[in-house]
Every structure is written in structure tokens, then in C-alpha cells.
């Protein structure tokens, strides 16, 4: 506690205006709380400004070019040649600008007070916010939400270095495509950047430390990711030593996971000591009676939609509602080629959990829509709890997988069984049919592929 300093009492203080923090702020304000939101950079956080949104714009730009090239043999006028990255960057900045403005006006309309600055705890219910170089303000809060997110981790053997060795966010801002690019990493961020720049004409090497890409996904998806990356022109090196390979590349992107932004908060001053790299919260997202934590600072996948869901729950709890974060299925979406998406348990996890696993796998070679789009390498793999039982997991590779996974998340939340999915009509000809077909495969009565011999 700093004696003699003026402090302002605030009702509900939220630290960080990323997808977790701003959603919590909006929900708490809707429920009548007076909300103050502290953000050191721009509202929307990493996701909106330098993560999900701009990276998906890059992926989409690269995919459109690849799709047109794929159609050239079918008579599509070719547009060979390098892309105009300067124009792309203008459109990227414009999209981000629209969305940031959107979030700002939502916060305004909800009466959320936004303070630009960096916060740290100086007592059990007091936070100090440094505004610019000189100015400091103190706030005494009733409730606080820690939503300060995470940042890219460096590799000890390959530290970030100027414009050449960079974190993934910087790679979204390049005004030109590098002639050669080394991407060090095996996670979805590394895969997306590698595939996007390969499609845009860079000579890309993906140096994966693990024995497979996407090591925490179902192994069938790892295999699909690797095949797809190679088909897109990415040189994939597994069990790689990125340090040894970095010298030759014009640019290097390092994706080595994310680290929760906790140190600068000085949690000890609030009597809170995180047991490890993350904060452990209860189902109401509480660390303590008046201290909440959501998003990447908490234990779990560092994904924007998880943070947003937690933000809703924290906002509900702050507003006095009975609420809990009990999502059973957090989908994961990878915007590579092919698109990859997963929700729920992998095959190995389901077996390890003791389920009598029943698998329905449907190859896109038997799917009309996939033939039209030359995407016959894709598949849907559904995992059920015993034959005919509830859906435990879905693992999808192919166009629009990142959208299809939503249906599978709903199915898991609803406790849908193989029959439920098989008996739901899916529009023809779409990729979504593969889900219905995969469920039928698991029930031993597929129409469009031969049933397994018994």
C-alpha cells in the first residue's frame, strides 16, 4: 500500500481488454455493474490486433490464390506472379480497424470506462495503473478480473532478433513475401504461417521440434497436416533443430507457445501467489472471493473463444448470476491446407479414459462436394463412446472443417449419439455430409463407402 496516494474507488475492475476481458466487461456492465477496463495497448487484445483476425486474413488471402491456381487446369484465367503484399497490409489494417472500433463502441454503449495503461497490484484490493511515462493512478476495486492474456515465448537457442527472427504476430505485417522463410515450431500457429507463405510464393521450411506436426491433435490430423503442408510446397522437417537451420533463411518465425502475462501484475502484493505458470480458477473463474481470472492466464488452451466463454461466465458471476464455466468441448480450428479442426477427445485420449471406443471414419474421396473442390484427401473421423454411444470427439481435415466443427461441439454438449448425427439430414452436396456419413460408418451401415467386413 502506498501511503498518501489518492485512489479512486471502482466497482468492477478488469485488467486487459482482449477477447476475455472485453466480453467480461460487456456482460458485467449489462448486468448492472459499473465497469472500469484497463488496457495497455488496443482493445481487442492479441486476438483482434495481431493474432486470430489478421492471421486468418493472411490465410484467406493465400488460400484464395491457391484456389485460383488449383482451378487453372479447369479453365480459370491464371494470375501467376507475386502478390501485392502492400495492398494486402492495407486491407488487413482496415479489417482490424473496423473490428477494434466495433469493440470500442460496444464498450462505450455499455458505459464501460476504458483506461489506457499498465496495471499492477499494490494491495489486496488496490491496483496501480501507469499511464504513459509520468502519470500513475490508483484504483480500489470491489472485484477484479485478471485478463492480461499471454505473449509469444522465445526459444533459448533462437531468440527473437530484429526484423529477421520474429514472433508469429510480426510475420502478419510484412510488406513483402520473403524469398526464403524458416518457421520454427510444430503448433497450429507455425503450420498456418508456413502454409500461407508457401502459397504466396516463399520457399518455406517448417522446422518442427516434435516428431509430428500438431502433436497435441489426433495423430490422423497430424498426418493430414503434414501431407497438406508438403503439397502446398512446405518443406517439413520433423524432430528438427531450428537453430542449425536458421542461418540460411531470409526470415525466421519462431512459434514456441505462449507465456501468461503475470509477472508485471505483482500478484504477491495482492496476497496471491500463482502455483506455476498459470492461474488455477474454480468453475466461477474465481481465484479468490473478489479476484477472477480468465483467458490465457488460466490453465487451459490459449484460445480466444475459450477466453470469450470464460468472459461471459465471469461477467455473469460478477452480475450476481448463477453461472459456471463447464464447456465440455472447446473446438480448435487450424487454417492450414487442408483446414483442420478438432473438438473433444482424440482416439488415444478416449481409449486412455477407458471408453469402448467406436470410430466412424469417412474419406472425402466418396464425397461429391470434395470431388468438385479437388479435396478428396480430406476426411471426418468421429469418436463415439461404444458403438451407438455418445460422441466423444471429432477430428476433421478438409475445406470448411473449421466451420463444421461447430456442429460437432454442439453434438458433444447435447450428448448426441451416432444415431442422432446419422439421422440428421445434411444438405447435399456439402462437406457437412461427411459427419452424417462418418456416424453411419460407426454404426456399420454406410451407404457411400463399403461397410467394413466383419
Amino acid at each position: 500500500m502506498v501511503a498518501g496516494d489518492q485512489s479512486d474507488p471502482v466497482d468492477c475492475l478488469i485488467l486487459g481488454a482482449g477477447p476475455g476481458g472485453y466480453v467480461a466487461a460487456l456482460r458485467a456492465a449489462q448486468l448492472g455493474r459499473s465497469v472500469t477496463l484497463v488496457e495497455r495497448r488496443r482493445v481487442g487484445g492479441v486476438c483482434l490486433n495481431e493474432g486470430c483476425i489478421p492471421s486468418k486474413q493472411l490465410s484467406r488471402f493465400a488460400a484464395a490464390k491457391a484456389a485460383a491456381e488449383k482451378l487453372a487446369p479447369s479453365g480459370m484465367p491464371s494470375f501467376a506472379g507475386p502478390p501485392d503484399m502492400a495492398s494486402f497490409q492495407k486491407s488487413r489494417a482496415a479489417s482490424v480497424g473496423v473490428l477494434v472500433k466495433g469493440v470500442s463502441s460496444l464498450l462505450d454503449a455499455a458505459g464501460v470506462k476504458v483506461i489506457a495503461g499498465s496495471a499492477r497490484f499494490v494491495g489486496r484490493s488496490r491496483v496501480c495503473v501507469e499511464i504513459g511515462e509520468e502519470s500513475v493512478r490508483y484504483f480500489d476495486f470491489k472485484d477484479v478480473v485478471i485478463a492480461t492474456g499471454s505473449r509469444a515465448t522465445q526459444l533459448d537457442v533462437l531468440p527473437f532478433e530484429g526484423d529477421r527472427v520474429v514472433e508469429p504476430s510480426r510475420a502478419l505485417e510484412w510488406e513483402s513475401t520473403p524469398a526464403s522463410l524458416l518457421v520454427a515450431g510444430d503448433d497450429y500457429v507455425a503450420l498456418e504461417i508456413a502454409v500461407a507463405y508457401a502459397r504466396l510464393g516463399s520457399r518455406v521450411t517448417l522446422a518442427a521440434p516434435a516428431e509430428r506436426l500438431l502433436p497435441d491433435f489426433d495423430s490422423d490430423l497430424s498426418a493430414a497436416a503434414q501431407r497438406g503442408a508438403r503439397a502446398a510446397g512446405v518443406e517439413v522437417v520433423l524432430s528438427a533443430d531450428p537453430h542449425a537451420m536458421a542461418g540460411k533463411a531470409e526470415r525466421v518465425v519462431v512459434s514456441a507457445g505462449r507465456l501468461a502475462n503475470l509477472e508485471e501484475l505483482d500478484l504477491q502484493s495482492a496476497g496471491l501467489t500463482p502455483p506455476g505458470r498459470h492461474l488455477k480458477v474454480d468453475a466461477q473463474l474465481r481465484l479468490d472471493r473478489h479476484v477472477f481470472a480468465i483467458g490465457d492466464v488460466t490453465d487451459g488452451l490459449p484460445l480466444a473463444h475459450r477466453a470469450m466463454m470464460q468472459g461471459r461466465v465471469a461477467g455473469d458471476v460478477l452480475g450476481g448470476k448463477t453461472s459456471a464455466f463447464d464447456s465440455r468441448a472447446i473446438p480448435r480450428a487450424v487454417f492450414s491446407d487442408p483446414e483442420i479442426a478438432a473438438v473433444g477427445l482424440t482416439e488415444i485420449e478416449a481409449l486412455a479414459a477407458g471408453h469402448e471406443v467406436s470410430i466412424g471414419r469417412f474419406p472425402f474421396a466418396a464425397l461429391g462436394r470434395a470431388v468438385i473442390e479437388s479435396a478428396t484427401a480430406g476426411f471426418a473421423k468421429l469418436i463415439f463412446d461404444r458403438p451407438g454411444g455418445a460422441l466423444l470427439g471429432a477430428h476433421l481435415a478438409g475445406p470448411r472443417s473449421t466451420e463444421l466443427v461447430a456442429e460437432m461441439a454442439l453434438a458433444i454438449e447435447m450428448g448426441a449419439t451416432a444415431e442422432d448425427i446419422a439421422l440428421t439430414a445434411h444438405a447435399h452436396p456439402t462437406f457437412a455430409e461427411s459427419l452424417m456419413e462418418a456416424a453411419e460408418v460407426s454404426l456399420g451401415r454406410p451407404v457411400h463407402v463399403r461397410p467394413a467386413k466383419r
Binding site: 502455483p275 474454480d282 477427445l345 463412446d385 466423444l392 470427439g393
Partner: protein, 401 residues
């Protein structure tokens, strides 16, 4: 100095919650180790919770009348020395390894089959889905299942049909919060009246020999310093009668369609206390010899009057007696304490004109009422029990050994 969060311990027999009856210290007060800090009320017992160490109470997180869940923080102590988790009922604030509130298992798809909206409803109603039987395919739980479970748990009869009893106030009276023992009585008795078809039989018993025996035993007790309550003989007579009529010592399990015959005879003794009606239980009353029975009756009723009843002392009753004699009570009906199936009422012994051998004589008569649950006990069984009890009181030799 260390901050210690005192969490509500399991006060007994797996209780999920308890009510703050009274704070015995204020915020800022110093307490010594084992000093009583707060009085908690569970069912019909109030329990004083001692401080795990010396220090200053810096925060109280619940007000009197609040219901607190087991494991929730009750108060915060700024302790002089660090308190280890083992020596205390709670956990030190420094230890944040586990989440402070119980949370559901991690997000996997292996939990109960209930969609998100139903899980939300269950949270709002405080229903544990693990206890809900799903009526859907494969045991899927619907919103209706949750509502039905909630209604059965909190309003055993048709709560919706009950008349609304709120808000009416005649004149400038006072409004007193319904809490603690009174609240439990309101809930238990309403449940009893709603769910049990009561039948009461009235009897007059010649208590001449019984009163003499009680007086003799009291005098003998006084000689050795042991207290002998009149109720002791009533408990013994009831326990012996129950022993011969085991249907009076059962509970009804409607959900499974079974009558549960209890192996022990545990006699509750309705006791008026400053806080309200409490029914402490004399466990295995049929197995205790007279001296131990007297001591046990004295112990549980004294503790109740002094507000020191423990939770285990109000649990597990299989039949109840209510003696209003000391209060000049006459004949009256009683309400059965669920899940018991009978309650025996005794009134004041008074001299009355009765006919003996064709002559009108004055005899000390005691009114007795036998109230039973007609779902499991029929009129003949009820009368048969009454005759046994009457015989034991009128010829009390067997009671005095």
C-alpha cells in the same frame, strides 16, 4: 503474521451446508486458540466452531442467518503464527494449489448426459445432476427431469398448491427473520403435515405405580448424585414397546417402494429450549441399562437446553416421545418427525375419578396419545402398540430393572 482463511468444516455426517447462527466475536477482535468464534446451526443442532489459532479476526464473510456451504470461507484470521492445514479446519491462504471452491471435472465429454441449457438450469436450482435420473434415451437428462427432481427434493408434496403465506401484516408489528431452530421446525413440520397421513389414538393410563417407581429411582439417584429424569422411564417404556412392535421402528422409502426396518431403537426426546424445539436422540435406548439410560437422557436433553447439541445427537432417530407433563399438558395430537413413522405424546399426571372394582376411586392418570403414519401402520397395529405401552406403564416392574 499470516492470513488464514477459516473454511466451514464438515460439522458431521457429510452435511453440505450450515447456517451462521451467531457471531461470537466481531471483526477486529483478538481470539485465542480454541476460542469459540462462531455458532453454526445445522438441522437441529448448533455447534460452536473454535479458532484454529491465536490472532485477529479481520474479515467475516457471512452474516448471521446466511447459509454457508462446507468448504466455503467463513472468516479470515490474521494469525500470530502460521497455521498448518493439518491442525486446522481450513487451509492456509497461502496455499492456492487447489481451487478454493469445488469445481466440476475438466471439460471432457464423459460427464452426465445433459445439454448445456439443462446444466445451467441445474446450477440455478442447485440440483446436482449426478443425482438426477434422466428420462431420455440413454439416460439423457431433460429440463423437466431437473425440475421434477428439484420439486421432489425441496417440496415433497405439491408445493405449488400451498396457499401463499407472505407479506400480510396487520398493524405495526415487527418482522422477525425465520432462521435457525425455528426455520428447521417450520420446514420439518410442514413436510410432516404435507406428506404423512397422521392418525392419533388417545388413551388414559393409570400412572400410579409408574410415578412411584420414578420417585423411588430419583431418590436413589440423588443419594449417589445421579440425576434421574421422569422421561427416562418414558423412553424405556417406549423403547420396549417398539421392540415388541417393530413396525413402529421403520421408515418408508417411497422411491424404491420399500419399508426400511431399522436395526436400532433410537428414541428422540422432544425438548423445549430457549432457541426453540429440539429433538435430541437417545441412541440404542433398548440396549442401555437403566443407569446408563438415565445418564444419556440427562446428557442429551441438558445439552439441548444449553444449546450445545452436536449434530450426531439430533440424527438417526427412529421414534419420538413428547412429554408435556411438566408444562401441565393435557391430551393433544403431535406431528411425526420424518422419516420416522410414530410419535408418542404424554401429558400431565393428574388425579381423576375412575372406576375400579365397581367403585369410583381417585387415581393418578396420565393422558397418552399414539400418533402413527397410516401409510405403514394400520389401526390394529396402532392399538396393539398402545396396549403394550399402557401395560408397561401400569405395571412398571419390567422398567425398573
Amino acid at each position: 503474521m499470516a492470513r488464514f482463511e477459516f473454511r466451514l468444516p464438515d460439522i458431521g455426517e457429510g452435511l453440505a451446508e450450515a447456517e451462521v447462527a451467531k457471531w461470537l466475536v466481531s471483526v477486529g477482535d483478538r481470539v485465542t486458540e480454541d476460542q469459540a468464534v462462531v455458532e453454526m446451526m445445522t438441522d437441529k443442532a448448533s455447534v460452536e466452531l473454535p479458532s484454529p489459532g491465536a490472532g485477529v479476526v479481520v474479515e467475516q464473510l457471512a452474516a448471521e442467518g446466511d447459509v454457508v456451504k462446507t468448504g466455503d470461507v467463513l472468516y479470515v484470521l490474521e494469525t500470530d503464527a502460521r497455521i498448518g492445514a493439518a491442525g486446522a479446519h481450513g487451509r492456509a491462504a497461502e496455499s492456492r494449489e487447489k481451487s478454493p471452491l469445488p469445481s466440476r471435472p475438466a471439460a471432457t465429454s464423459t460427464g452426465v448426459l445433459a445439454p448445456p441449457a439443462v446444466r445451467k438450469l441445474a446450477r440455478e436450482l442447485g440440483v446436482d445432476l449426478a443425482n438426477v435420473k434422466g428420462s431420455g434415451p440413454g439416460g439423457r437428462i431433460s429440463a423437466e427431469d431437473v425440475q421434477r427432481h428439484d420439486a421432489a427434493a425441496t417440496h415433497p408434496a405439491h408445493a405449488a398448491e400451498l396457499p401463499v403465506t407472505q407479506g400480510v401484516q396487520i398493524g405495526a408489528g415487527e418482522r422477525v427473520p425465520l432462521r435457525g431452530v425455528q426455520k428447521r421446525m417450520a420446514e420439518t413440520m410442514a413436510l410432516s403435515a404435507r406428506s404423512i397421513p397422521h392418525v392419533t389414538g388417545f388413551h388414559e393410563v393409570d400412572a400410579g405405580a409408574f410415578v412411584e417407581l420414578a420417585a423411588r429411582l430419583r431418590r436413589e439417584g440423588e443419594a449417589t448424585g445421579a440425576r434421574f429424569a421422569f422421561d427416562t422411564l418414558l423412553v424405556r417404556a417406549t423403547a420396549m414397546a417398539v421392540h415388541r412392535h417393530p413396525i413402529f421402528n421403520c421408515s418408508l422409502d417411497l422411491e424404491r417402494g420399500e419399508i426400511v426396518m431399522h436395526a436400532e431403537v433410537n428414541v428422540g426426546v422432544a425438548t423445549a429450549t430457549p432457541a426453540g424445539l429440539i429433538v435430541p436422540v437417545v441412541k440404542r435406548a433398548d440396549t442401555l441399562d437403566l443407569a446408563r439410560l438415565a445418564a444419556e437422557v440427562d446428557r442429551v436433553t441438558s445439552a439441548a437446553r444449553e444449546g450445545k447439541t452436536s449434530v450426531s445427537d439430533v440424527r438417526g432417530g427412529t421414534i419420538t416421545i413428547s412429554n408435556t407433563g411438566a408444562w401441565r399438558g393435557g391430551l393433544g395430537t403431535s406431528l411425526i418427525v420424518p422419516p420416522e413413522v410414530a410419535i408418542v405424546g404424554f401429558g400431565r399426571v393428574e388425579e381423576k375419578a375412575v372406576v375400579r372394582d365397581g367403585k369410583v376411586v381417585a387415581r393418578p392418570m396420565m393422558p397418552m396419545s399414539i400418533t402413527f403414519d397410516h401409510r405403514v401402520i394400520d389401526g390394529e397395529a396402532g392399538l396393539s402398540f398402545a396396549l403394550t405401552l399402557r401395560a408397561l406403564i401400569e405395571d412398571p416392574q419390567q422398567l425398573g430393572t
